[in-house]
Symmetry: C2
Subunit: 209 residues, 2 copies
């Protein structure tokens, strides 16, 4: 037999200990720190801490909303599949419509991506929801456009971590500027479904392992 | 309306052009380069190129196998959900058993993680398959243990990109040392489901956008 750690709980504990030893976490509050640690765990890079921005008591806001049973609205199946259902405090629905059969035609009609078109289907579920965008900048831009309408329902918190080279950094700066809800952002090109799901998993409950 | 690129094909084209302008891709062959570009696209970081190792004509091997209809065996649902079915050349099955109801008991019996236990279920499907490990180091270690048995079927190619702080780097070095199949590896702590799915998506077909 090869020699390696096979105990899942021990792997988590050792990983979190390494992150806490190596990452610069001093600027985060005691509530924020475990969220940042779990996001670093998802990408294997302690430098991520420098790119993370938390606004408007987003940890408290998201945690309180999830306890009330609000849905988690995801832009990509990789995000929704990364959310550990057993961590959610109230059997919260995890919703993602990017693969909905109506979405390709809707995207064509709206002149946008399928990810952004799917966000327009969030509207009846948006009041108080936790939003988790980990893939498409266009999804975050679409949400910000909807939230410019005064009668659009407001989410409780927005995890905005789209990734990539075209629009990702800009969409996240627009979220911080818009100040429409408590927000958690990874600045720049960094982001992705794994760290977004990790953020939701950390917000969902307080036990780490 | 906010001003941003809404055309999915244009976003891909611009993203790939930025990556090709910024990343150091000189050491990759013409077949390898689009795979590396797509992996960089998935994580937003051009420096990833330096961490990528391709062994044993892995691009040709994976591409030929996929054209024959072999399955893609994934360690995590985030990997299997990230694979674009329309890119697969032969309606290839994309298989992942980590959520199988038998797996928790199997993991307990084997004294390992659920991810590793699920890998033991790959065996009847392993001959010629393309393996895509993007999450759990224990899954890659488990596969390497199985491949030490002379009568264990051999996959055509192994995408080995588990991520994290405990075992990830070691499992990938063990894969390169073992030299059991053509392999694509992201060295060190880096890795994850997004770049793993991106590698499969690039191997699956030659058109980029």
């Amino acid at each position: 037999m090869m020699s390696y750690e096979r105990d899942a709980a021990a792997i988590y504990r050792q990983s979190f200990a390494i992150i806490r030893a190596e990452a610069d976490l001093a600027r985060f509050s005691a509530l924020e720190e475990p969220v940042v640690v779990r996001m670093i765990h998802a990408c294997g890079w302690v430098g991520l801490a420098e790119q993370i921005v938390l606004r408007g008591n987003v940890v408290e806001a998201a945690r309180a909303a999830l306890r009330q049973g609000v849905p988690v609205l995801c832009d990509a199946r990789m995000v929704s599949e990364g959310i550990t259902r057993a961590r959610l405090p109230a059997h919260n629905p995890v919703l993602c419509w990017v693969d909905d059969p109506t979405v390709p035609a809707l995207a064509q009609r709206l002149g946008t991506t399928r990810s952004a078109a799917a966000v327009t289907l969030w509207r009846p579920h948006l009041a108080g929801a936790v939003v988790a965008i980990g893939n498409a900048p266009t999804a975050l831009f679409q949400l910000l456009e909807m939230l410019r309408e005064p009668d659009c329902p407001r989410p409780s918190a927005i995890i905005g971590c789209p990734v990539g080279f075209v629009g990702a950094a800009e969409s996240k700066e627009a979220l911080l500027q818009a100040d429409v809800a408590p927000a958690l952002v990874v600045r720049g090109r960094w982001g992705g479904s794994a760290m977004t799901a990790a953020a939701v998993n950390a917000l969902a409950c307080e036990w780490e392992v």
